[in-house]
């Protein structure tokens, strides 16, 4: 995956997260049932977004790191950012 795509997808994930945890995106998920792992649905919903963000950030980091290595190999400092 290219650096540009990885950054766009990361931005998309966090943009979507913002919408889904505030008004109005949160409304359909602001409910008690079904329980998930014993937690009310709304709480598990937030927990899932947080857990997902670890995965997204780890994947982003892999792409960013590869881009930095490649940039260094070409003799340019930094990999963007």
């Amino acid at each position: 995956m290219s650096l540009r795509t990885a950054r766009a997808l990361t931005g998309l994930y966090f943009g979507l997260m913002l919408v889904c945890v505030t008004w109005p995106g949160m409304i359909p998920f602001s409910r008690v049932r079904p329980f998930i792992l014993g937690l009310p649905f709304s709480m598990a919903w937030l927990g899932a977004w947080i857990s997902g963000s670890v995965v997204v950030l780890v994947l982003l980091d892999r792409v960013e790191k590869r881009a930095r290595v490649e940039a260094a190999a070409r003799g340019r400092p930094g990999g963007g950012a």
Binding site: L18, S30, V32, L39
Partner: protein, 485 residues
């Protein structure tokens, strides 16, 4: 032996241990200002991770969180939502700021901003705003420490004495050892907090209700309004979506703008360390879940604490846990309070002296360091006086401070990413934003959709920054180039 005596002994042992770790760490740091403020830029991943986690999770999360869950239910979920959103952009912002810090020798956020927008007035304004936001934040930590100690010693050690002793220790190691001590004590305290939170969060629902699902089934039957966002307001009415959502936005924007967190960019050993801290940060955020479970466990629990912020220590005492567990919990809560308090005191002194006083008076390295130590004492004393006020809620104290601190985000982003921004634009935006925040903070009934004053202020701040920048002469190409070079 009586329970409170056993508990006091455990607390005393814990405090002594913290003090010795703090003082020993300080001996490894050099005596320069860079050593005191930025720990000679030497923190590795493990220390950075716990420094960040422990300084974000404070008495606010450990006591205020369960307090909110107990009294306002799902309203507290906003705390769960904002951390990750606020931290993620730092993956890019952090290394970028760090690079500029290394090149130009910056150790504070205001130096970064005024490096791009040279103005002594701007520097002093940022120092002043940071200090205004810091005092309620430190106040909250001290009050938290006092609350814990007073409850578990059954009133034998009142709030004024408990907060005095705990913060006497914090001030001692911050004064003598600086950033190095803050780093190592936070590592120790961070580990401690996480273990205590998960243990109690899983144990209490099990012991009191026979399991998690069982607990929520009972709460759903008795108080269903507590279980879905936006929860309840302070008066027990349903809370508005406008307030819930903007609390998330303002806290996300403000989170990394806290000088004590932003300055981590200047203490990290290298950029990879910073990036990895950001990636691991959500794992610290998940630690709020057991904290919230403790608050929910209190909902149907017989008896009422003197104030919602007391719910956690109150339950710990009422469930007849062994004295050793009570003592350890207490030490965990103190960790939460002290590990944020020390970072705050340390940062407030660095900011006030570096960005305020040193802009106007010539100071050599030794004098600066001595002046910083004096400011640590003064800030501590001011917060201590406010901490004795019995009417303050831990969460609300912090939420108000976020209104001010979130106003630092536009200047930081403009300095790092927008080449056309000008000094006049940044100053105008900052003044307009702060004035708006202050106005709506004073007149809550005028806020459209019940929105947080910090978000309303950003609606004014950002357009003013852009408009005034575009209306004034662009910065010299040479200046901008040497800043970014």
């Amino acid at each position: 032996m009586e329970q409170w005596i056993v508990v006091s002994i455990i607390i005393a042992a814990y405090l002594l241990l913290t003090l010795s770790i703090g003082l020993m760490a300080g001996r490894r740091s050099t005596h320069s200002v860079a050593g005191y403020v930025a720990a000679d830029r030497s923190f590795g991943l493990v220390v950075m991770y716990f420094v960040t986690g422990a300084s974000v999770f404070s008495a606010f999360a450990f006591l205020g969180g369960p307090g909110w869950v107990y009294s306002r239910g799902a309203a507290a979920f906003y705390i769960l939502a904002y951390g990750v959103l606020g931290m993620a952009p730092f993956y890019w912002i952090g290394p970028r700021a760090a690079k500029l810090g290394r090149r130009h020798g910056y150790v504070t956020q205001a130096q970064l901003i005024t490096g791009r927008f040279p103005s002594r007035g701007l520097s002093a304004l940022i120092a002043l705003l940071s200090l205004i936001a810091f005092v309620p934040y430190v106040t909250l930590q001290m009050r938290g420490a006092g609350i814990v100690i007073e409850s578990v010693t059954e009133g034998h050690v009142p709030i004024w004495l408990g907060s005095l002793v705990a913060y006497g220790i914090v001030i001692a190691y911050v004064l003598f050892a600086g950033a190095m001590a803050v780093g190592w004590t936070n590592t120790f305290q961070g580990v401690f907090m996480v273990v205590i939170a998960w243990t109690l969060g899983l144990y209490l629902p099990h012991r009191l209700y026979g399991g998690l699902g069982e607990m929520f089934t009972q709460i759903e039957a008795a108080r269903p309004e507590l279980l879905s966002p936006p929860g309840l307001s302070a008066t027990g009415e349903p809370w508005s979506w406008g307030a819930y959502s903007t609390f998330i936005v303002v806290s996300s924007v403000g989170l990394m703008m806290w000088p004590h967190l932003f300055m981590k960019a200047f203490t990290a050993k290298d950029d990879d360390t910073l990036r990895r801290t950001v990636i691991l940060f959500p794992t610290f955020q998940l630690f709020l879940i057991p904290i919230f479970l403790i608050g929910f466990a209190g909902v149907l629990f017989a008896g009422t604490p003197p104030a919602p912020d007391f719910i956690l220590p109150f339950m710990i005492l009422e469930t007849n846990l062994p004295a050793i567990v009570v003592g350890l919990f207490c030490a965990g809560a103190l960790s939460a309070s002290m590990s944020t308090g020390d970072a705050l005191l340390h940062a407030s002194a660095s900011v006030f002296v570096e960005d305020g006083v040193a802009q106007f008076v010539e100071l050599d390295d030794a004098k600066q360091r001595r002046l910083m130590q004096l400011v640590v004492l003064l800030t501590g004393a001011a917060a201590y006086v406010f901490a004795q006020d019995p009417d303050s809620s831990l969460v609300l104290l912090l939420a108000s401070a976020y209104g001010i601190i979130s106003q630092l985000a536009p200047p930081v982003l403009a300095a790092l990413y927008w080449r056309r921004a000008t000094t006049a634009g940044v100053v105008a935006g900052l003044l307009a934003g702060t004035a708006t925040a202050f106005f709506f903070w004073q007149s809550p009934s005028l806020r459209p959709f019940d929105m947080h004053e910090g978000v309303l202020a950003l609606f004014v701040h950002v357009p003013v920054l852009i408009a005034v920048s575009l209306a004034t002469r662009p910065q010299d190409d040479e200046h901008v180039a040497s800043f970014f070079a």
